[in-house]
């Protein structure tokens, strides 16, 4: 959907769903990543990152970790209802990241059909629109899409 003349805004704003959650490429060749936290002591990694490791439960063990560029589709479901602003049907999934953690994500860049999706398929991180807000802005977030040719 293109911005029409006379819209309240000159162009739609792209607003991250939350600050500090992911890195959005600013220049060509740059890649997006998820901003997670990894425990220096036990290796536990969580996304979104929390300040204290829930396994060690002591302060100062978590450090920022940039993860999630690649992953594999662990499981999914095509959901045929959605909240206002979101697209229906949507592909909801668990993605097993290369670094270990399994995270919940929407899948994008592919038809929401059983045939187009295979458990174990290679996925890559993209930062793209998950919904339009009431003011017509695009709310962007992390999502995964099938790696071309995989």
């Amino acid at each position: 959907m293109e911005t029409k003349l006379g819209d309240k805004f000159e162009g739609k704003k792209r607003v991250p769903v939350e600050e500090g959650l992911f890195h959005q490429p600013q220049a060509t060749g740059e890649e997006p990543y998820l901003i997670a936290a990894k425990c220096k002591k036990c290796g536990f990694t969580d996304f979104p990152g929390t300040p204290v490791c829930p396994r060690c439960v002591e302060p100062g063990t978590m450090e920022e970790a940039h993860i999630g560029k690649k992953g594999k589709l662990e499981t999914f479901s095509i959901v045929r209802s959605a909240l206002p602003g979101f697209t229906s049907p949507s592909i909801q999934s668990y993605v097993k990241l290369e670094e270990g953690p399994v995270i919940w994500s929407l899948i994008t860049g592919v038809e929401p059909s059983e045939d187009a999706l295979k458990i174990g398929m290679d996925l890559e991180l993209v930062i793209s629109k998950v919904r339009d807000d009431e003011d017509g802005n695009e709310i962007i977030s992390y999502q995964y899409q099938p790696v071309k040719g995989s």
Partner: protein, 385 residues
Amino acid sequence: MREVVVLGVGMTRFGKHPDKGLKELGTEAIWNAVEDANIPPKDIPIIYVANAMGQQLTELRGTIAQHVVSHAGFMGMPVINVENACSGGSTALRSCILEVASGNYDVAMAVGVEKMCIADTARSAAAMAFGTILGKFGFMFVGLYAMNLRRLMEKYGLTREHFAKVVVKNTKNGALNPYAQFRQPRTMEEILNSRVVSDPLTLLMCSTMADGGAAAIVTTRDKAAKYSSKTPITIAACELVSGTPTSADAVHVPIETRASRQAYEKAGVGPEDIDVVECHDAMAPAELLIYEELGLCGEGEAGRWIDEGKTEINGVVAVNPSGGLASKGHPVSATGLAQISEIVWQLRGEAGERQVPNAKIGMTENAGGWVMDDNAACAITILKK
């Protein structure tokens, strides 16, 4: 700690109550429980009330417990608002048990009440979805359940037919329950052919929002005899846990398993001793996962269990004789205490047409919320005749 028993229970019918708000629903549940307990109302010295969505969906924006209980005529005593998503009702009960077990009070009343069927259904849906932070990314609970069931299909070869069989069983039970929102038995065909909501889940496999209230009054065994001639139902365990971290380098024990192990140990019984279970099947096929998580059946046996009718009212262990959440409707904070009500009726032998024969030990499983890749809370209660 003193032995605590359930003296009385009560609930409203679950479903759409356009003429009733939280105060009216709560009042009805409270007075049903008071009547069932045969207790002078002034002997109730403390009340806990669970509610999850009132602040978002009704005109009450706080101290909902006090608004509800004062409407019902109860003022002056300690009144405490608790919330634990869908586990709120059990959480209120747990607190009441502690008040009585500790000797702090001889009697306590737990109430769960929820108003979800409002004119603006989008608001209700959003209140459900945004109960977890993932909501803002597009997360839907139904998709989560669907993915968990899909794993079951892949791992153990379960089919959509297995899932539908759970709904056949539960809607048959629910049809016998005067408190259930839906009282129509459903066929395999109807269930499988209803609209796909989130594959493999169809519409008739999913619970619906509802309005409703439920309450339980607990006391000591000695006091129970003083008030009521009904069989006091002993609370052998009521264990609450929250979720644990999930990580690629460690096996994640399901929250229901952790809670039920604690409960079995505390009650001194095993899963093989349980005669009747009310479990938290917000999507009915999730029952199959729960069989295994509670240790009722062994790994990978859930499909065979439903095929062989082991969880029917006349089976090895009756699961959801009330009809479960999909038949009863799911007014979130009332659900836990409705489960308790059903088990109390079953153990007393008061469950009418849906009575489980010779039920002596019952269990409820009441899970809720979603935080950091696990349920926010899960409560398991074991009740004995």
